[in-house]
């Protein structure tokens, strides 16, 4: 067997020396670039990866914070109450994401039919309203549609019974508010992909016996699909993690995953941060699962993107 350590290095050729010089320069440049990235890397480690690792680690400890165990996960999966929270969160997220995507696909398309000037205005409104969420949004809904809300009172005084069966502080109310803050975001995300649909594809389709409907079924929607799927992932995650809006509207009356986590890590009564961490991990896992599923589906349908 040849001993690697005793082998002498091959003397470098003259051309190799120049090559090495160039390589060294490139390496030096790369180092500078990396140095410039350092603040960003530190930020990511400190505020993204760090907490994530801490959460993951905490989730495997018992309530005393000393013993390593999977008890927290077992607690969640054995408790009907917590399972219901997960289910409620999944249902409301799926429902609001699907509804918002459908509305946004149609709305963004109708945007493209206006003149550029009006399109810009509409986008500005969408941009503004997409930032309107959390407690201010819930409060607005309470003022307008709550039990003593402006519209509720106005319509009942007018003798119109529209809101008689409507309760803002219920599942329907929550869904309504979720959809409200998801739609503008969905529009903002889907709108640019309409620019990628070429007019000549429509013309070619119409010359090949296609109708407007067949164009959208066979070409338009499949081309938009990656952006629709991506938007869906973001909306789903957005709804899964939404806390302030739900908290302001229903408090602890409604059993949602994000509300449960909050009560476990910052409640006045009993703090169980390890259990909260385990639920946080499950929340993160569902989001990653949703994205993975999305990706798989898209690859199946849009084979050209592989």
């Amino acid at each position: 067997m040849v001993n690697v350590r005793t082998m002498k290095p091959i003397p470098p050729l003259l051309a190799n020396i120049e090559e090495r010089e160039v390589l060294r320069k490139i390496k030096k440049q790369k180092l500078y670039l990396l140095a410039l990235l350092l603040p960003f890397i530190l930020f990511i480690i400190g505020f993204e990866i760090g907490p994530l690792v801490a959460m993951l680690k905490d989730s495997f400890y018992a309530d005393d914070g000393i013993q390593v165990t999977i008890q927290q996960y077992l607690t969640i999966f054995k408790s009907k109450f917590y399972l219901q929270a997960i289910q409620n969160s999944l249902v409301i997220s799926l429902f609001s994401a699907v509804t918002s995507v459908i509305i946004a696909v149609i709305a963004a398309y109708s945007f493209t039919k206006f003149s550029q000037k009006i399109q810009n205005r509409l986008l500005m409104i969408a941009n503004m309203t997409s930032n309107f969420e959390g407690i201010p949004l819930s409060f607005s809904y309470i003022i307008l549609l709550g039990n003593n809300g402006l519209f509720t009172l106005l319509f009942s005084k007018l003798g119109l019974d529209i809101f008689a069966g409507f309760n803002l502080y219920s599942w329907t109310g929550l869904i309504l508010v979720y959809i409200y803050f998801q739609i503008p975001l969905a529009i903002m995300l889907i709108y640019p992909s309409y620019q990628g649909i070429k007019k000549q594809w429509k013309e070619a389709s119409s010359l090949l016996n296609g109708t407007a409907l067949s164009f959208w079924i066979h070409i338009g929607i499949p081309v938009l699909l990656p952006s629709i799927a991506g938007t869906f992932s973001i909306l789903f995650a957005n709804a899964m993690g939404a806390y302030a809006t739900a908290y302001a509207l229903v408090g602890s009356n409604y059993n949602l995953l994000s509300l449960q986590i909050a009560s476990l890590v910052s409640s006045d009564v009993s703090l169980r941060p390890q259990l909260g961490s385990a639920m946080g991990v499950l929340l993160a896992a569902t989001m990653i699962g949703a994205m993975w599923f999305n990706e798989r589906m898209m690859r199946r349908i849009r084979r050209d993107l592989r």
Binding site: K198, W201, S206, L207, L208, H218, I219, D304
Partner: protein, 339 residues
């Protein structure tokens, strides 16, 4: 009997006339070219035939049927776009099969396969458009239109995005396929050389009108006005007064004289065997010589005007810049233009 008839078609956008009283007829199986500079209305005319643009006045007939107000899908025309317009989410096979599928046609597979053989794309059936070269994409676009067996094939500058060599090959192939299927074809281009090599008939367009139509030879050798003369072949166009002075003759009529650069002959000053019976003799000085490969192009300055003279590039026969020369102008090659 004419197969395609365009009868006094007029179209305008916001008070601007794009097509003005266009009339033309084509025979079945003819390869016709609409030739003109960009903005002359040639693409608009093609898109009007396809039904992608409405016309304000006039009618369009194909095979005796008035199609002026039919939707594109009912016109039985096929079109190839400059940008190919292939569907990016479909394979070559699916792209070609799309029209047949929409039509709910039978034996889609065999018809598509035959097309793929015709345009020489065997083995590429399962590729996506972005995996193909420009030339291959253009073949897919062509077969996608042809598989529908349209009555008329419309080609909107289909080769202008390709590089010179592929373009030459595709020109030949397009012509072969067109002959093989005997399909009436209307081709739009701004490249006069392409128009010349491919067409049975050329319609030269300018500012929304057809200014001249005829076979490539007719168009090239007998332009009817200054625009055609200058656009089609680098003609030397001189006003009649200037030309009369140069040749010292009053026996010529018309408004302007057009002379092709390749019919002119340069003879170095001092040589005496000039045929002054058949030619006019104009004295001049060579101002510039340029070489385009097989052709030497001289710019010769005379007392009144400058001439372009083309000569085939023979070894050692190049005249020097600054040389005094006679330009021999064959009398029968001078074309008198009325306008």
């Amino acid at each position: 009997m004419s197969y395609v008839t365009i009868d006094q078609v007029t179209k305008g956008y916001n008070h601007q006339v794009v097509l003005e009283n266009i009339s033309l007829t084509l025979k079945k199986g003819e390869f016709a070219t609409l030739l003109g500079q960009s903005g002359c209305g040639k693409s608009t005319l093609l898109r009007s035939i396809a039904g992608l643009e409405d016309v304000n006045e006039g009618s369009i007939f194909i095979d005796g049927k008035d199609i002026t107000h039919l939707s594109p899908r009912n016109r039985e025309v096929g079109m190839v776009f400059q940008s190919y317009a292939l569907f990016p989410n479909m394979t070559v096979f699916e792209n070609i099969a799309y029209g047949l599928k929409m039509k709910k046609a039978k034996d889609i597979k065999s018809r598509v396969t035959r097309m793929i053989e015709l345009v020489d794309l065997i083995g590429k059936e399962q590729s996506y458009p972005h995996q193909l070269s420009g030339g291959q994409q253009q073949r897919v676009a062509l077969s996608r239109a042809l598989v529908m067996e349209p009555k008329v094939l419309l080609l909107d500058e289909p080769l202008s995005a390709l590089d010179a060599k592929i373009r030459k090959n595709l020109q030949k192939e397009l012509k072969r396929i067109q002959k093989e299927l005997d399909i009436t074809t209307i081709f739009v281009t701004h490249d006069q050389e392409e128009a010349m090599t491919m067409s049975d008939r050329i319609f030269v367009m300018n500012k929304g009108k057809i200014v001249q139509s005829g076979s490539p030879t007719e168009i090239y050798t007998s332009p009817v006005n200054t625009f055609v003369a200058k656009f089609i072949g680098n003609y030397n166009v001189l006003s009649i007064d200037v030309f009369r002075k140069l040749v010292q003759s009053t026996e010529i009529d018309g408004n302007e004289v057009a002379i092709r650069p390749e019919v002119l002959q340069l003879v170095a000053a001092g040589e005496n065997h000039l045929d002054l019976q058949a030619n006019w003799d104009i004295k001049g000085t060579i101002k510039d010589v340029s070489m385009t490969g097989n052709v030497l192009r001289y710019e010769v300055e005379t007392e009144e005007s400058a001439f372009l003279v083309d000569d085939l590039h023979h070894q050692g026969k190049m005249l020097e810049q600054g040389a005094q020369v006679h330009i021999l102008v064959p009398k029968k090659e001078c074309i008198m233009l009325a306008n």
